[in-house]
């Protein structure tokens, strides 16, 4: 009986298609990954075992470090409206161009009277200029920080019909009195619920 000859086939698989798909996905993930913007105020956040993630809208983050406070309003529309409201409140004006530029600034800590100049600078100048002295907190009732938070809350309520959440992102080594001052500002406008931003830590048994 003649032997049936099985033709030997190559075991090499064509990887081209797989490679295509892999890179397509890779490109997608790289593009969708939100690039982390450099923080003007570097803070080392403490860790905790909580599992609740920070929401990504209707939120204002107060960064506390080195005795200074920086504010970050999430959402370009809210940020724009907040600035307009602040401008009316303090009767100063910003050009439409400035408002547009302001919408893309992440976190800032500049007294309101220098905000105009600050907006006109580019990234490098901002870091060097030394105007980033933090939002003035001298008066808890009518200080600029109080107003910023208040106006941001109004703006969120107006645009999204929800209550704005407030998160505090404090430096681990920050002295407690600074934090207390900020919490006081919040409590003065009846914000008794806020969250502290922490990094993840392995849960204890």
């Amino acid at each position: 009986m003649p032997r049936v000859k099985v033709p030997r086939k190559s075991t090499a698989v064509d990887m081209t298609a797989m490679c295509d798909v892999a890179f397509l996905l890779l490109t997608f993930f790289i593009l969708t990954a939100t690039s982390r913007q450099p923080d003007p105020l570097e803070v080392k956040i403490p860790s905790s075992t909580v599992q609740f993630k920070v929401p990504d809208k209707d939120l204002t983050i107060l960064t506390i470090g080195k005795g200074k406070v920086f504010i970050e309003i999430i959402g370009q529309d809210v940020k724009k409206l907040t600035l307009q409201k602040m401008a009316t409140e303090y009767s100063i004006s910003f050009t439409p161009e400035q408002i547009k530029r302001f919408a893309v600034i992440s976190s800032f800590g500049v007294p309101l009277n220098q905000l105009g100049t600050y907006i006109n600078m580019n990234g490098d100048q901002r870091a060097k200029s030394g105007v980033e002295t933090g939002i003035p907190t001298d008066s808890t009732r009518s200080g600029e920080l109080f107003k910023w938070i208040e106006q941001a809350r109004y703006a969120t309520a107006e645009l999204h019909q929800t209550e704005m959440r407030i998160s505090i992102k404090g430096d681990a080594e920050e002295e407690y009195p600074t934090v207390r001052k900020i919490v006081d500002v919040l409590q003065r406008q009846k914000v008794n619920k806020f969250s502290l931003i922490t990094s993840a830590e392995a849960a204890a048994k």
Partner: protein, 181 residues
Amino acid sequence: MAELDTSSGGGKGGKIRTKKQSTRVDLTAMVDLAFLLITFFMLTTSLSKPLAMDIAKPDKDERNPDNKLEVKQSQTMTILLVKGNRVVWYMGEAGKSQPTIEGFAGITKSLLENKKKVKDATGKDIMVIVKPTDGATYKNFVDIMDELSITKTNLTAPAVDDDPKNLMDSEIAFMKENGLL
């Protein structure tokens, strides 16, 4: 496909003979790398989000300063956050029981012990009052709130009293004595 036709190059005139080489490239390593990167980006996009610890503070009404929460001394434990990453805690009324100075490593155990003691003695849940003093850092505060949630104490009413005016005289005296203020 990933091949190119290179057969036309050699052989004219039959003098120079170049070996026909396959232009097939092994893509396995490249695919490996691509998938590694995909995994990395997939994981980091969702995991890099910071976490939020919710804090609810009692309402501070300026017009009504007498609006205070009365708590039974038999079920209270007061924790003072003091200088040098340490805590001072005591049970019951200030000045009547001996405060204990402890580091953050031991506070979990003390919390659990006291929680059990209060539960056994009174049948009620323990009330923990946290008083951060000026010497404490923000990290201490986050840590103690975290400890409370780990030990599941004070879940309903977190009592954070950070007003320096509310520090009892005996508490201040004790901290001064031990150089913790």
